[in-house]
Symmetry: C2
Subunit: 660 residues, 2 copies
């Protein structure tokens, strides 16, 4: 098969192989086997089928390409260089895996133009791709084929398919009939430890068929077969899996087809042999002009131009641009502010999960970008708003997604939706099951994607379900992740504020830790200022200089308020600080922090969770009323007594420290 | 179908239904639907097929029963009561979900005799069952059918099968042909949010068939069909899935077959209707004598007695008892001590993952209970010892398992092996992928199972793979989990010590965080004392009272040693404390802790990770040299410089604090 300029596709593919083996060799680190094995498939895809414009990596209607097998990063770096993405110079290729280069060990979104998702942790790419394909259909339902009509292509490895998250993702994709999703499985029979049959006997095609996918199998080195399969995939009414039987390290004389080509440089001698076998005569990091010319003819600049014209002519243009921008518009912001002030006025005493649900109900008609769902806990998480449209197979106009009992796939899907653009995804489950989606939460943070995680049932306050369902370490474990804002609002107003801050945030994820149980309304201001914005603030102050500062979060903030009242009777002046978001507070300047927590004044914190991480705020000498281990199964009020998380305990801890 | 005493099985099943709906009603909390739906299947299983002895819940050759759908806990509590497990009195049933009762909201291992695994977090039960079924075959390979010959039965829900971990578990079970495993899928078409088809279209039987399972479908209320399917399952050469089509809340007049019966009390009126529909005339918490008699005739006391005789007559009896005890024998302990002293003598400078591998190599022939593997990173994690036997389908005599790229399933499998008894499981992956198995690590901790997690590539020291692979928050997030001991050994000797402490621990899991990169040997003692036992200790002391204490863990401990040497040149006396395990140090008495970290002496810690959690040890004023966010892709030495984790930085931080 030839490119329009007459260059053989095999020569184009060999350019990928040469760059990959040479860059890995130069770095003395990396994975040459996969790019060499999948070079033919990638060449047909990028030169003949994929819709993209190297001059405009951010073109909204481009096809998305996700290298789920992120360890084969030289495949995408080669493709970006060869097709002419400006930033991906040969110098960058030469600096593969070096500090500050665009060619990091694994592809990193936001770091390298043309990389659509950060991949490497296996299973994440294919699962994010489901979110991209879903966002595409959802935007298409709103804006039509003229403006939104693209595909998501994935290259996935055996490892991607062995990971559990892939099960969640492919079941969801099959259920929703996301037919714009095509997964090219690098079926090379090799994983790091050796032949895949050391650990795997699954009939993968049957598995995907069971999940509602269209499946086929091809020789991944046969250009006609690849071309036909990709063409056929475009008219599928289901998501498509194409098993591409390939030889890992294709061309390497002794390591091809072996795990020795997977994750280490081939070595000079082997590379020389591969050059010979492939008929590649150019020195390292040089590509013959005709091959470059063939590659540079790839892409869809014409289609891009036509799309730009259609967009300009469309009466939906402003709406689409606004949705894609990610920025809340004035209407969105006004809705949030109005709701905040209404809550301040009404002062409802609700579980914070209920306040969260009411917030969503109040704003959703003004927030067309809001889209989300729950892992089969709609009635518990309360993010399913009244009369919201449900996203279904073939009908993607809704704003609510029944994700099924698939926390990990759900979170990855949200990452994919966020990366795709057009939506502000929120996903929900119980807080303790943050553990089930943790690898995806980490990627939200690393990729700076503003996914909103609504995590209810945030402590022993959930009661009878017991220690398997009661988070004690979960808040700490989430606070530990860089770039995650964790909110634990104390009442309805703080809940509204937390939603506002989460929705205004554009550079990273937010976790909203919400209560199952009711809380009193604590705030008596008019709600004009978002007081949660600084992370922690003085909720109840003393007339004189405080003797002690009591810090509460979430459902325990009211215990701090009660404790302060008890202490006042003893003549101890206790300031109450509400601390809905420790990350935001830590980001304030020293002056503000000192104004809330004066140096030298003893501190006592109360949170129905472990102390781990709190010493940074309260000091080693500070008091902490919370959990010291796992919870137990019993009605919530009994658990609070049993574990000693009471206003009296807070007051006692304060007295002790005031005395000392 | 009738029990031997003539009682209809339907009456026996209705006893489960009555207890379940009444207990949930009394607690005003719980899940009646599943026990009512699966009562018939459970009755046939427990009264006619399962091998167990209510008088001996710990009998080694009993069948294991895992209620993967742990929310239906009243099913197992009913069964334990009805079949005569002594502790499960009617009083306990009445105290369902109350503080301190044996009838916790979800079944808890170690809390309730007869409960084989803590379940509730979906997907964990079925995945632990794979480990139990594997351990059974592995013990069988060692001790033969006379002593080890039992099955693992699982009741799993739609949620269990939607979770990604189930994919990993069933692929592994299919690959290893674990034919002693039978999963009874409660195929009731209902999940919490409503009909399962809101979110699910998978052909489950095809899916399991693809994974190498024998599959069948039955009416879960047809006793003959259930009986025949269970009988057939016993002669399968593959793991078995039986789809049991049931009606959730069977018997409830208006809520049967609906999600309203899933997770909330039925209400008095509905219960009255159910009593009528089921023909159940007894008051709450009373079971007619003939039904009790029929239930008490269940079980296999005779088989137990015969087994006890066979055991007594066997020349392998002592070996089996020793393996099942979980306690290391004298030979095991001697091997560990000898190795520790040899390392002290040899002083090898290796990556700690390499030292770990050598430790395993040195002891494995003396540790027949050691069994484990890696998630396709054998050559990186180095837990695959020389000439170790590989566990394969039909040949279970080995000690190494190729788990495939299935971290979560691997960890759950290890929990199952540990719960089963006979083995000390160790499992391995990269430290950052602890996130992928975190829900199972949490269960190890909650169930107090001494699973050993070998987590290599424990920092930016892994270099080029970049931020997706570089843990920065992972140590903190693991330290945050109660009852997990996290070791980060500094050199070969500490690595040997950590293995020894992990293997001697019987009441909870251990994480060994190990380096990719080489470390110098730091210890010059003779290795007779396990100095890591107290978690932290003075590695290099000063002649005079220290001006500052430098605390290091793992690969950064040598930086603390270098820094102390730099400081000495300036006349600053710096003690170096090596802190391989912060949890063990925190558990020491105040006197010991003070002897290592004298109050008032400034402290500086160095660890190539985030500060989160460290303030508890070093104080807010303490110095910390480590990471402040995610890592980057580059050779490791450059990254250490780039992120400022150097001996000079440690020395500078110390100087600053000594001055202040």
């Amino acid at each position: 098969m030839k490119a329009p300029n007459g260059t053989e596709l095999s020569a184009m593919a060999n350019a990928i192989r040469a760059l990959s083996m040479d860059a890995v060799q130069a770095a003395n680190s990396g994975h040459p086997g996969m790019p060499m094995g999948m070079a033919d498939v990638a060449t047909v895809l990028w030169s003949r089928h994929m819709k993209f414009d190297p001059a405009a990596p951010g073109w909204a209607d481009r096809d998305r390409f996700v290298l789920s097998a992120g360890h084969g990063s030289m495949l995408i770096y080669s493709l970006l260089h060869l097709t002419g993405f400006e930033d991906m110079t040969m110098d960058e290729i030469k600096r593969f895996r070096q500090l500050g280069s665009l060619t990091a060990g694994h592809p990193e979104y936001g770091h390298t133009p043309g990389v659509e998702a950060t991949t490497g942790p296996l299973g994440q790419g294919i699962s994010m791709a489901v979110g991209m394909a879903l966002a595409e259909r959802m935007l298409n339902a709103r804006f039509g084929d003229d403006l939104v009509d693209h595909r998501t292509w994935v290259i996935a490895s055996d490892g991607d398919l062995q990971e559990g998250i892939s099960h969640e993702a492919i079941s969801l994709a099959g259920h929703l009939k996301l037919n714009r999703l095509v997964v090219l499985w690098d079926d090379n029979d090799i994983s790091i430890d050796g032949p895949t049959d050391l650990a795997e006997s699954t009939d993968v095609l049957k598995r995907f068929d069971a999940a509602g996918w269209a499946v086929s199998r091809i020789d991944g080195h046969d250009y006609d077969a690849i071309d036909a399969a990709l063409e056929a995939a475009k008219s599928s009414d289901k998501p498509v899996l194409i098993a591409c039987k390939t030889t890992i390290g294709f061309g390497a004389p002794t390591k091809a087809g072996k795990s020795s080509s997977h994750g280490a440089p081939l070595g000079e001698e082997e590379i020389a042999g591969a050059r010979k076998a492939l008929g590649w005569t150019s020195p390292p990091f040089e590509i013959p002009a005709d091959i470059i010319e063939a590659w540079r003819a790839s892409g869809s600049a014409d289609e891009h131009a036509a799309w730009t014209e259609r967009l300009a002519a469309s009466d939906k243009s402003d709406d689409l641009v606004a949705m894609l921008s990610g920025e809340p518009g004035q209407g969105e912001l006004t809705a949030l502010e109005a709701w905040r002030q209404k809550v301040a006025e009404d002062k409802p005493a609700l579980a914070t999960r209920a306040s969260s649900g009411e917030t969503l109900n109040a704003i959703i008609q003004d927030w067309p970008t809001l889209a989300g769902g729950s892992a089969d806990l709609a009635g518990s998480n309360l993010t399913k708003t009244k009369d919201v449209g449900i996203v279904k197979a073939g009908d993607y106009a809704g704003q609510y997604i029944h994700f099924g009992i698939r926390e990990h796939g759900m979170a990855a899907c949200a990452n994919g939706m966020s990366l795709h653009g057009g939506f502000r995804p929120h996903v929900a489950t119980f807080l303790v099951f943050a553990d089930y989606c943790r690898p995806s939460i980490r990627l939200s943070a690393l990729m700076e994607q503003p996914v909103i995680y609504v995590m209810t049932h945030d402590s022993i306050g959930l009661g009878e379900d017991g220690p398997t369902h009661q988070p004690v370490e979960t808040l700490a474990s989430l606070r530990a992740i860089p770039n995650v804002d964790v909110y634990r609002p104390a009442d309805a107003l703080e809940t509204a504020e937390a939603w506002e801050l989460a929705l205004k945030r554009l550079d990273g994820p937010t976790v909203l830790a919400l209560s199952r149980q009711k809380v009193p309304h604590l705030r008596d201001d008019d709600g004009r200022d978002n007081r949660s914005e600084k992370g922690a603030y003085t909720l109840v102050d003393t007339e004189s200089t405080p003797d002690v500062v009591l810090i509460g979060t979430g459902t325990e903030t009211s215990l701090a308020v009660e404790a302060a009242e008890m202490l006042a009777k003893d003549g101890i002046a206790a300031r109450v600080v509400s601390a809905p978001c420790l990350e935001r507070f830590a980001a304030q300047d020293a002056g503000y922090r000192e104004s809330v927590l004066p140096a030298g004044t003893p501190r006592v914190a109360v949170e129905a969770a472990l102390r781990f991480g709190w010493d940074a705020l309260i000091g080693v000498e500070g008091g902490f009323v919370g959990m010291t281990g796992f919870g137990a199964s019993a009605p919530a009020p009994e658990l609070y007594e049993h574990f000693g998380i009471t206003a009296k305990a807070v007051a006692d801890a304060a007295r002790e420290r005031v005395k000392a």
